[in-house]
Amino acid sequence: MNIGHDSTDAAKTLQFQMPYMVAMQSIYRRMFVRIFLTLPLAALGCGQPPPTIAPERVALLSALADQVSGDRAMGHVLSLVAEHQADTPLDCSQWDASYEPDCSLTRDRSRAWLVGRLSELGLEVSTQEVEDGVFSTSNVVADLPGTSRPDEIVWVGAHFDAFYAGADDNSSGVAALVELATVLSGHSFARTLRFIGFDLEEFGLVGSSRYVLAEPDENLLAGIVFDCIAYYDETPGSQQALPGLQMPDTGDFLGVVANDDSTQLALDVFALSGALQTVQVLEVVAPSDGAYALTGNLLRSDHAPFWLEGDPTLFFTDTANFRNPHYHTPQDVPDTLSTDFLEQVIRLSVASLAWWAEVNP
């Protein structure tokens, strides 16, 4: 996202060696998925400027990304799964628990684990509480204040509640959140970097919706939501297409879901994935704010409330049940995940967030 970078960047831009239209055609052909044929073309808009990142910035972002450790992140997944398995599920007798996984949902110990890790990194950690009986929520918010524009917030979030062991859904996302905080907290940024753990996503985006409603006036410039980001399968036929979309049949890419407001963020991520040689990304851009009856599958995680409020936000996912056969089952365990894929997703995220938040050299 080109959000007010200094003129030095503008003067020394790297155009990725491709004229704009060629780049866009390449994007259309290879990576962007067309939603209902014409809508995404309108959504992307040919008036969008090409991604431009100064070469020295690319080097800096690459160096940051190289600090990511996949093994460390997978260690976080193991720790989180252990916390979920040791936790007591919510009392599902208090609602119509006709969906079988409902009675296995845990969150308290994983939230405590997340607070502990973020606090150890020296971040300003707080919680956002809403009392609502069994559906009370406690979002975790950790800030790394910006050095020159602290009111402008670049954020990343993941939900910490999970069914069963919840390795991919969503210990992978929370582990990535902590790994990002580990790497990025060692640096300073012009804008504030915020790390958010959302509560009760599985029960209807509860924590993230309450966050959005409680903080309507925050200046959220760019955000990423992780939900299921570590399942990888190159086997043909391992990937199912979302209804209405054409997709590859191999589950070897990261799905990046955007709407009109976050199209520029998606273009930046696409450019960075190429420049840093991270992971193959497949970007889906929903038209307008994405809130259409026919695009409901693109609103299935905590980015949706932010989309509805007009906050530029991307959704990173391995596409969950469209790829992972263990989705919402007791078999969603760490052994089924790919450490390398998780590492590459985090590398791309580090670079993207550092770019948007303007890492200080």
């Binding site: 559906f135 509860v206 919706s209 307008s288 409330p305």
Partner: protein, 229 residues
């Protein structure tokens, strides 16, 4: 470039409008009158030369047919988060058909649909609509397709949900659901038998107008029976 022909302002046009000549010699209708004239032309479908011909009976002077029908329909609504369960609706429609259907193959329809109170959280479980239909009359079989504009109080989704936890996201959703809708309406099995009118399996698919497409509606008209007044 040759100047446009001048038009004598004293000569009335067939619609009774007068023209004036501009300073450059171009002629045009006075602006308000022009729009009234164009609108009149569109509505009446009357050729300009018609007024200069002797008056004669035309099909347009023959009154059309007004039919009132009562029907049963079943419909559902989908937003980006939720859907309503299919619900039955009673439908009362008034339909105007020109007498010379072969020359003017269209119908104008207006009506009301009433749903049960258990359709979502509808405060006013009613729809009011107007529809213009193109008809292909084949004897007594008069299939058609139309465009319907209406306001619906039925696109209201249940507040509770299965777990009752997602009130916050439903609050965000509610700001994107409004009554106005636009729909395409197909009438494949519509028959006019003398004074009686029957229709079955009418299919309608539509969307909220504003915000656009946040709610999709699908309605199946099961049976409608009526008579000419």
């Amino acid at each position: 470039m040759p100047a446009p022909p001048r038009v004598d302002s004293s000569v009335p046009t067939p619609l009774g409008l007068r023209t004036i000549s501009s300073a450059t010699g171009a002629s045009r209708l006075r602006t308000p009158a022009r729009w009234v004239g164009l609108l009149g032309l569109c509505l009446a479908g009357t050729p300009l030369h018609a007024a200069s011909e002797p008056p004669r009976p035309t099909p347009s002077t023959v009154p059309g047919e007004l039919t009132v029908s009562l029907g049963l329909a079943r419909g559902s609504y989908w937003s980006f988060f939720r859907s309503t369960s299919p619900a039955y609706m009673l439908e009362l429609t008034a339909r105007y058909s020109p007498a010379d259907a072969a020359e003017r193959p269209w119908r104008l329809v207006g009506g009301l649909r009433a749903g049960p109170s258990q359709v979502g959280s509808a405060q006013v479980p009613l729809e009011i609509f107007a529809r213009a239909e193109l008809v292909a009359p084949l004897g007594s079989w008069t299939p058609g397709v139309g465009l319907e504009l209406g306001g619906s109080g039925l696109a209201a989704f249940s507040e509770g949900g299965r777990r009752g936890a997602a009130q916050a996201v439903y609050q965000l959703e509610a700001g994107r659901i409004g009554p106005p809708y636009l729909a395409v309406h197909a009438l494949p099995l519509t028959f006019s038998l003398g004074q009686l009118h029957f229709s079955a399996l009418e299919l309608q698919i539509g969307t909220s107008i504003w915000p656009t497409a946040t709610v999709t509606r699908l309605t199946l008209g099961l049976l409608s029976v009526g008579g000419a007044l």
